[in-house]
């Protein structure tokens, strides 16, 4: 079973997203802040990470940088899932090594699941 780590501080979003994805047959790991997210990424080696940007403790960009700097977690695809949509943020996330950048408000759960499946297929 493929593991997806969701790093998202909104517990309601975390729950809905987790439920939908576990219904799709994925194993879900949840982190409500950047610090826990980073620890789980290193200890559990998920197959995919969904990463919010505005996070308590460690900002999403720093989490992304640390994941990509660590040889053990570098290969894990990271989907940035946020409501920030400035060009600078998108650029920065892609430069840091995000696989794709999705704005929450623009996606339904179903579309999001399709995107996640696509990332798995292309990897």
């Amino acid at each position: 079973m493929k593991k997806i780590l969701i790093i998202e501080d909104e517990s309601a979003l975390q729950k809905t997203l987790g439920e939908m994805l576990s219904q799709q047959g994925y194993e879900i790991l949840s982190a409500l802040n950047g610090e826990i997210g980073l620890k789980l990424a290193q200890s559990k080696k998920p197959d995919l990470i969904l990463l919010d940007l505005i996070l308590p403790k460690i900002h999403g960009f720093d989490v992304l940088k640390k994941i990509k700097d660590n040889p053990e977690t570098r290969e894990i695809p990271v989907i940035v899932l946020t409501n920030l949509e400035s060009i600078e943020d998108i650029k920065k996330a892609m430069e840091l090594g995000a696989t794709t950048y999705l704005v929450k408000a623009n996606y339904s759960l179903e579309e999001l699941t399709i995107k996640i499946n696509q990332v798995f297929q292309s990897n």
């Binding site: 439920e19 939908m20 409501n83």
Partner: protein
């Protein structure tokens, strides 16, 4: 160019940009102008006074009094302008924060309802689906409103940047017609599109221009009573693309015409006929077209439909 350089050095243009205002609406610049007027007035008064060989002390006194009065008035006016500009800036920031903060709970609601409706958490009865649909529609409305507010805040804080590229305007129009077809059908409205052949590609921001046409098309369909027609036209006129959308809707009353592109404005008959609507779509359309170096306008008579048009330059 020279004036701009001087203004830049005096830090005036930076200050004006902060408020998102043009030079002639900007308190700092107006104060500068007022200062110049005071100096010119003083010199003129002195010149006239000496021409008529008045007592130099009297001339000096008159010059002093006039300069002081003008200076005080100028200062008061620019002060109140500054307060207004500050309030305007706070309002723009408020809109920006509110709309950003609203996005997360709206996504939250939308996803939760989607999950419930999917039936994956338990079977949903037909009656419940009906009510879930109402919730879903209302969330979609909130989403649209927040999206509009965000664009408005970007326009006002001058952070709406256009990502220009070449594309066919007619493709965008056709796509939008297809997406509006079901709504139009339900409202008994027929949409037609007359397109000049072999038009070149336009150089503009495809996403923003789509937004403009979407807003115009949505208005055209929304304000048709019972049955009607919406005709779209695209052709070249001199050095511009010319797009027109004509409807057989309620039209715009004479007294409301001058306000139609103002934000949050809704014409009386529009409110009577359609309670939904934020009064932002035409303001957004105008701002985007203006930023794309085009023009926008309309012709309308109350009760006899409206024709909205815009132009976009052909950039080589």
């Amino acid at each position: 160019m020279k004036l701009k350089e001087i203004l830049r050095q005096l830090n005036v243009s930076v200050q004006c940009k902060k408020y998102g205002l043009s030079l002639w609406q900007c308190p700092q610049f107006l104060f500068l102008v007022m200062g110049l007027v005071v100096i010119i007035t003083a010199i003129t008064t002195y010149y006239i006074g000496t021409q008529y060989a008045w007592d130099p002390r009297l001339v000096a006194l008159i010059v002093l009094i006039i300069s002081t009065v003008l200076f005080v008035i100028g200062f008061l006016i620019s002060q109140s302008f500054e307060r207004l500009a500050e309030a305007n800036k706070i309002k723009s920031e408020f809109i920006s924060i509110v709309s950003h903060q609203l996005r997360t709970p709206i996504s939250n609601l939308g996803w939760t309802i989607e999950l419930l409706m999917s039936g994956k958490l338990g079977k949903i009865e037909a009656k419940q689906t009906e009510y879930f649909k109402i919730l879903k529609e209302n969330i979609a409305r909130m989403k649209e409103l927040v999206k509009d507010l965000l664009i408005v805040s970007r326009i006002e804080t001058q952070t709406l940047f256009l990502k220009e590229k070449r594309f066919y305007l007619s493709d965008t129009i056709k796509e939008l017609i297809v997406s509006f077809e079901p709504v139009a059908k339900a409202l008994n409205v027929t949409i037609s599109f007359e397109n000049q052949k072999d038009l070149p590609q336009v150089m503009a921001d495809p996403f923003q221009i789509k937004q403009v046409i979407e807003n115009l098309l949505d208005n055209a369909i929304r304000y048709i009573k019972e049955k009607g027609k919406v005709k779209l036209k695209l052709n070249l006129e001199q050095d511009n693309f010319y797009f027109e959308i004509n409807d057989t809707g309620v039209g715009i009353p004479e007294k409301d015409k001058k306000y139609i592109f103002q934000k949050f404005f809704r014409a009386d008959n529009a409110m009577k006929y359609q309670t939904q609507g934020s009064g932002l779509s035409l303001y957004i359309a105008k701002s985007i077209i203006k930023k794309s170096k085009g023009k926008i306008g309309f012709k309308s008579q109350g009760g006899q439909g409206s024709t909205f048009w815009f132009t976009l330059p052909i950039k080589k």
